[in-house]
């Protein structure tokens, strides 16, 4: 590489995206550690399948569907932002937020029915992991919803146009949260 | 002047000390080579007027050889230490020799509770005997200790026997030792276990065969 060019030496990837990827890279071991712990402890003791059978598979399937759909809507928001159509960005972000809230709502219904049946976090090791894993994931969904609401307001007010790339960055995060669920769902509900 | 170690009184303690001394001699040589070079270079190549440092990048094979050859020696010595150590480790923590007597030891805040199976040799029967903190064993016999914990993690430490094993609630962890010299030795807890950790201390009474028989008769009188 020769000197005397006035521009900085860089990776060619915009800083925002680089930073987001590094952030996600550090998030993977959080859930990676949790999931690995779940697998190792589960392999070491019995009775997990029985506990798992008390979960509501149908609701979880609905939730999977909600999250997958929301991943599609953030992609469409990103596509709209590249065409500078912020009216459409706002619509798709709003839809994403609604789907995310729907996910949390269904999760809340699950929690309350489970606790009503006595399956509290203290009900055994499966339930520890169930509440730990879905709870931490739920917090990530909540964080994603907040980010998307902020962007949605920006899109409505028109201030987002100057920071259009943020839609993509929020989308990367949202996909990550979605992918985590795709691991949690079979591990907790199907296995 | 103090000895470096407490007196060794177990059959495998000498092997542990042996690996220690092996590493000690190897690292001592390295210590004097590396620190000696630093001191020598610092003195020899201190700044003198009119002298410029050599422009050495250390990127040719010939230059790097000065590093790579010692490094190869390090690798060989490392592996030597590990291979020698593996045998000792396997002896202490791997396959255990058959037990002459078996005792259960439960760590609890802040005592060791020892359970003897009694004359029938079985745990969970009426002749079991529980004694807090005092462990009586015969010299020259293989003693198995089954370690459990009632509450938190403790660590069963026999400094004179060079034995240590953490005690984890929810697990039964086996350990063994064979004492070679009669005497009284301490059994401290080596893992922080609460405000009474300091002072959690048992006592190992290593008795000659006759003394041990006498102690057994005292505890389980034959008329019963």
């Amino acid at each position: 590489m020769n000197a005397n060019t006035a521009t900085m030496t860089d990776s060619g990837i915009p800083p925002g995206k680089t930073g987001t990827w590094w952030f996600l890279a550090s998030e993977i071991p959080v859930f990676g550690g949790l999931i690995a712990s779940y697998i190792v402890v589960r392999l070491g003791s019995a009775g997990w399948g029985e506990a798992s059978s008390h979960l509501n598979f149908t609701l979880a399937l609905i939730n999977t569907f909600l999250l997958l759909t929301s991943s599609m809507t953030v992609v469409m928001a990103h596509a709209a932002s590249q065409e500078n159509n912020y009216r459409s960005v706002a619509n798709f972000l709003g839809l994403t937020v609604l789907l995310g809230l729907g996910f949390l709502g269904v999760k809340a219904v699950e929690y309350t029915t489970e606790i009503a049946h006595g399956f509290t976090p203290a009900a055994g090791i499966f339930w520890s992991f169930y509440y730990g894993m879905t709870g931490l994931h739920g917090l990530h969904v909540l964080a994603g919803i907040i980010v998307n609401i902020v962007l949605w307001i920006g899109a409505l007010k028109g201030s987002l146009a100057r920071h259009g790339h943020r839609v993509e960055l929020a989308g990367l995060y949202w996909h990550f949260v979605d992918i985590v669920w795709l691991f949690l769902f079979p591990l907790l509900y199907l296995a | 002047m103090l000895n470096w170690f407490p007196e060794n009184v177990s059959t495998f303690g000498g092997e542990v000390d042996g690996i220690f001394w092996l590493i000690f001699y190897i690292t001592t040589v390295w210590f004097f080579i590396t620190e000696g070079l630093i001191v020598y270079f610092a003195f020899r190549y201190r700044r003198k007027p009119g002298e410029k440092a050599a422009y050495v990048l250390g990127n040719t094979t010939a230059e790097l050889a000065w590093i790579l050859v010692p490094l190869a020696i390090v690798v060989v010595l490392d592996l030597w230490i590990d291979i020698r150590g593996a045998a000792v480790w396997a002896n202490i923590k791997g396959e255990r020799p058959a037990a002459d007597i078996t005792v259960r030891a439960m760590g609890k805040q802040f005592n060791w509770e020892f359970t003897y199976p009694g004359p029938d040799g079985k745990f969970g029967t009426e002749d079991d005997l529980k004694i807090d903190n005092d462990l009586h064993v015969p010299v020259g016999k293989v003693v198995h200790v089954v370690l459990t914990s009632k509450d938190v993690i403790h660590s069963f430490f026999l400094p004179h026997a060079r034995l240590k094993q953490d005690v984890v609630p929810g697990r039964e962890i086996p350990a063994w030792f064979q004492i070679s010299k009669p005497g009284e030795y301490e059994i401290p807890c080596a893992e922080l276990c609460g405000f009474g950790h300091s002072g959690m201390n048992g006592k190992l009474y290593a008795l000659s065969t006759e003394d041990y028989e006498k102690w057994v008769k005292e505890k389980w009188p034959p008329e019963k």
Binding site: M8, D10, G19, L34, S37 | E15, L37, F41, G58
Partner: protein, 559 residues
């Protein structure tokens, strides 16, 4: 520019990486005082059990456990991390790569304030009912998982919260470091023209970011066990206490290198400058660093040889542990080779760098004992381990940081430190450090356990009393010696000789701008023509050749 911003924006809520670096430095030094105070009380209690510690009073056993817990927590997470990683990383990375600031200045400010919040939470934990955390800095459950085992209630929860905040802060910081270095290097500054310390900071950031996740999960799990009754680590509910140890040490061992690498980077840079000689084997050092970084992920169970894990796991981990000494040995040998045929000036910074090297080698060698599984059976949880890790950590955290401070102080604050006081500080620190920790190895070999409040409760430890008193006396003198530094620091800050741009005639980019650098760092973006260590190059009549100086005769860049 800073004048326009006003006091609050330029000094307190500043986005300038240099100000943020100084904020981390100040907070880290404050915590170092706390760490030193806890060390004093711990040592007093060991040497003179159950007597009144001068200036404090009696130390009850439960308070003693809080002291050892907080000493470790403070020194690792609130001294080493903010000073070595955050302060030096923040200050040096943008300056050394010729950037105006970090890639995300506001995120940078946020990182600091999250760390500040973590500090407040940790400090508050001393004052809640039940006192501060008392389960050791490793926080092993079940001891840490239930209040009834320690009597500590919110202190432990706040401890976990403080750690979580600290980790969040350093994750954001790591994102910033890496993005900055990837995207904002000056023209001509290729990866292999970066100073070693930048490489080591970046490697440390990557190691941290990839290893801390499982412990964040673990902290959440432990907090849930304490607050809402889950049983992740409680066997009575089907949980597994050893799981925490795996999560903790999967992070804990890489964490050692997170601290070590920036310190080692300072040592490499300082030694090169005061040797007037290029770093020996620059590229292989960087490769070794990266290899060691990756290997640090597969050694963690050496902390658990006797923890109750399957004994067959010990040998594989023993082998990886002993093998990891190879890349570090390479770096150490290279630093020693740098001294060969050098032209050495013994400045205070250089003394501390050499001291750091010498002390670190000792700690590296005693690590071989710990890494050997059979020897570890005996020395695990004894003072031998304590002595060992103080040799490795004190060498980088204190000797390394002092080297860095004496070296970069002129750039940070625009004034020179007093060299004579610096050298006195070095010799006092070096002598008393060794007086504390060499005998401590012997105490450990005699079997003295860690974290016991009163060794006199054990027959086999009673003969160690004089040795323990000697260690305590040396430790007090070691702490008192630091007064020399404090005086020097503040005196130089107020009345030190004004620093020129490049008082050490060093090559790297931070020395090409004013001392201290203005907001925005460089008047014009510097262009880089060569690597950072072209000292005594035949291409230059002087014994240094700055990275940004074009050579009219030969345009070809060296390396």
């Amino acid at each position: 520019m800073s004048e326009e911003l006003g006091y609050w924006r330029s000094r307190v809520f500043s986005t300038d990486h240099k100000v943020i670096a100084k904020q981390y430095l100040s907070l880290g030094l404050f915590w170092a005082l706390m760490g030193g105070a806890t060390a004093y009380l711990i040592r007093w209690q060991i040497a003179h059990p159950d007597t009144e510690a001068p200036g404090w009073g009696f130390i009850a056993p439960d308070f003693y456990n809080m002291l050892v817990t907080m000493h470790g927590t403070i020194m690792v997470f609130f001294v080493a991390m903010p000073i070595l990683l955050a302060a030096f990383g923040n200050f040096l990375i943008p300056l050394m790569i010729g950037a105006k600031d970090m890639a995300f200045p506001r995120l940078n400010m946020l990182s600091f304030w999250v760390f500040f919040l973590a500090s407040v939470v940790l400090m508050a934990s001393f004052f809640v009912p039940g006192g501060a955390a008392a389960a050791g800095w490793t926080g092993y459950p079940p001891l840490s998982a239930k209040m009834e085992y320690t009597g500590v209630g919110w202190g432990m929860n706040l401890w976990l919260l403080a750690l979580a905040l600290e980790f969040a802060s350093f994750l954001l910081g790591g994102v910033n470091f890496l993005t900055t270095a990837m995207n904002m290097r000056a023209p001509g500054l290729t990866w292999f023209r970066l100073p070693v310390i930048v490489w080591m900071q970046l490697t440390a950031a990557v190691i941290f970011m990839l290893s801390v996740g499982p412990l964040i999960a673990g902290a959440v799990m432990l907090l849930m066990d304490r607050l809402i009754g889950t049983t992740f680590f409680l066997p009575e509910g089907g949980g597994e206490p050893l799981l925490w140890q795996h999560l903790f040490w999967f992070f804990g061992h890489p964490e050692v290198y997170v601290i070590l690498l920036p310190g080692l980077g300072i040592v490499v840079d300082v030694i090169s400058v005061f040797s007037r000689k290029p770093v020996f084997a620059y590229r292989p050092i960087i490769y070794s660093t990266i290899v060691a970084g990756f290997m640090s992920f597969i050694v963690w169970a050496h902390h658990q040889f006797i923890s109750g894990i399957d004994p067959r796991l010990a040998m594989p981990f023993s082998i990886t542990t002993i093998i990891i000494s190879v890349p570090f040995a390479f770096v150490i040998f290279s630093i020693i080779a740098t001294l060969w045929r050098a032209s050495i000036t013994f400045s205070a910074a250089m003394l501390f760098a050499l001291g750091s090297l010498g002390v670190f080698i000792f700690g590296g060698l005693t690590g071989i004992f710990n890494g050997s599984a059979p020897v570890d059976i005996y020395i695990h949880d004894t003072y031998f381990v304590v002595a060992h890790f103080h040799y490795t950590l004190f060498s980088v955290v204190f000797f390394g940081s002092f080297a860095g401070l004496y070296f970069w102080f002129p750039k940070m604050f625009g004034r020179m430190m007093n060299e004579a006081l610096g050298k006195i500080h070095f010799w006092l620190t070096f002598i008393f450090f060794n007086a504390v920790f060499i005998p401590m190895h012997l105490v450990g070999l005699r079997g003295m356990m860690r974290r016991i409040a009163n060794p006199m409760q054990y027959e086999f430890l009673k003969p160690l009393e004089p040795l323990n008193m000697f260690i305590t006396l040396s430790a007090i003198l070691l702490l008192v010696s630091q007064v020399v530094f404090v005086i020097n620091f503040f005196m130089s800050l107020a009345r030190g000789k004004a620093a020129e741009r490049n008082p050490w005639q060093a090559n790297t980019l931070e020395w090409t701008t004013d001392s201290p650098p203005p907001h925005g760092n460089f008047a014009a973006v510097p262009s880089v023509y060569r690597g950072p260590y072209e000292y005594s190059s035949p291409e230059s009549a002087e014994d240094w050749l700055p990275q940004d100086r074009p050579l009219t005769a030969s345009r070809t860049a060296v390396r």
